[in-house]
Amino acid sequence: MVELVIFVLMGAVTLAGAIGVVRARNPVYGAMGLMATLFALAVFYVVHLAHFVAVVQVIVYAGAVITLFLFVIMFVGVDRAEDLKEKLAVQRPVALIVLVGVVVLAGVLVVTGRFDWVISSGEPPVVRGTIEEIGENLISIGSPSDRQASRWLLPFEATSLLLIVAAVGAIALAFYRPRRKDEPPAGPDTGPGS
C-alpha cells in the first residue's frame, strides 16, 4: 500500500520533471526538471531497497552532472533565446511513431499480465550482499548452466551501448546545420562568427 502511494506520487514527479525538461523555455528550469526526475528515480530505488544505487544516482547525476549543466548555462548566458524551430524534417514523425510503439508495447505488457502494479505480494524482496556480490551478479558470466549469474549481463551491456549512441547522436545534432543552396559545404568549425 505504502509502495503504491509512493509510486503514484513519485511517478507524477518523474513525469512532470521529464515534461519540464523538454517544455521549459529557460534552460535552467529544464535542468531543474531533470533533477526532479532523477531524484524521483532515486526514491524508486530506495523503495526497492537499493539504497546504494539511489545514493550514487544522487551523487553522480544531481551532484556532478547537473551542477556542470548549470555552470555551463550560466557562462553561456541564459537570456539568448533558444532557436525552437525544428531543423530535422523527419524528427517529429519518427518521434510520433516511437511514441505509438511505446504505448502499444506498454498496453500489450499490461494486458498480457506480465506487469503488476505492485510487485511485492507480501514481504518486500530483501537484497543482501556486499558490493562485490552485487557486481558479480551484475556482470559475471558464470557457468553456462547457471542462468542466475549472467541474468543482468545483457541489460548492462545494452545500457552502455545506449549511452554511446546517445552521446554520438547529441554530438551529431549539435554540429548539424541544414545547408542552404547558395552556401558552400560547411566545415565542422564554421561558427556564426567565421
Binding site: 528550469y29 544522487v58 544531481a62 551532484g63 551542477t67 548549470l70 550560466m74
Partner: protein, 361 residues
Amino acid sequence: MDWIDLGLVALRVVVVFVLLQVVTILLIWFERKVVADMQNRVGPERAGPWGILQTVADGLKLFFKEQVTPRKVELGLYLAAPMLAAVPAFLMFMVVPFGRPVRINLGGQERLIPIQGADLNIGLLYVLAMSSVAVYAVVLAGWSSGSKYPLLGGVRATAQAISYEAAMGLSLVPVVLFTGTLSLSEIVAAQSGSLTFFDRALSLPAWNVFVLAPSFLIFFIAAVAETNRAPFDLVEAEQEIVGGFHTEYSGLRFALFFLAEYINIFTMSALAVTLFLGGWSGPTWDGTLPLLVSAILPTVWFMLKVVLFLFMYVWLRATLPRLRYDQLMTLGWKRLIPASLVWLFFIGGAMAVRQFGLPWG
C-alpha cells in the same frame, strides 16, 4: 514495524530537528562572542545572561521584517532557493550518531534505540549526496536574483563546490578502506578500544585521526571550503560582491540561508568527530555512575569534541584573510587532490599488505 517503532522514528526526527535549531542559536552566539574576544571587544551582552539570547532576538526581528522581492527575479527559483538550502542541511545530520544506542523496554519488548536520525548502511555516501545537493541553493539563488553580484557569487560557489567535493570524497576513501564500512555508526564502533601498533596496545584511543592524519587534514580543509567559511568565503565576500548569492534576500528567506550555513558548520564538525575522533566514544564508567548519567555521557563527549571543531572554525574566521581566487583553485586542484590521491595509494598498499602479506614474503 509496529506503531511504537514508527513513533520512535518520528521522535528521533523531531529530536534532530530541534537539536539543530538550538545548536544554531547557540553557535551564532558562540561565534560572535569568541570573535569579539579575539578582537578585544565585548560582543553581544544585552539579551539574556552574557547575551546568550541575542540570536533569538535577531531571529524574531528577521521573522517580522518585510520580505523584499526585487522586480527582475525569476520568481519560482528565487522562492525555492532558501528552502533548497535549509532542507539538505537538516537531512545531512540525520545519519550522524550523536550518542550511544540505548536499550529501553517499550511495549513489553526490549528495543535498542540508536541515538541518530537513521542508521543507513550507506551513511557516508548519503552525506556526500546531501552536501552536493546543498550547492544548488547557492547557485540557484545567485542566478535567479537577476542581479550581477549574486550571479558572481553563484558561479564562484559552483566552481568551489566542484573543486573541493572531489578532495573531500577522496579524503574519505581511506576511512572507508580502513574501517571497512560506510555506515557511520559502524565507523564509530570501529574506533572503540585503544590503538594497537604491531599488536601492542598504546595508551591512545583507536581514533582514525591517529592513523589517518593526512585524510583528517584534507577533510577538514575541504569541509571549511564546502561550508563557504573564511578563509574560503569568496562566495559571499562582502568587500567584493556585497553579500554574494544572498544579496537580494531579506527577512525570513535570508534567515533560512543563515540557518543552513550554521547547520552545515555543525554537521561538518560532527562528521569530522564521527569519522576521525571516535564519535561519541569516551569513558562512561558503566556501573559506578547512575544509569541515566552513563547513558547521557556519550552525547556529552560528542558535543565537547564538536565544540572543539566549532572553535576552530571561528578561530580560522577571526585570524585568516580570504584567499584569492587563483589561490583557492591551486589549493584545491594542485595540492589537496594530488595529496589525497597519493595518501590513498599509500593506505591502499598498506591495507593490501595487512591482508595478503608482503609480495616477497
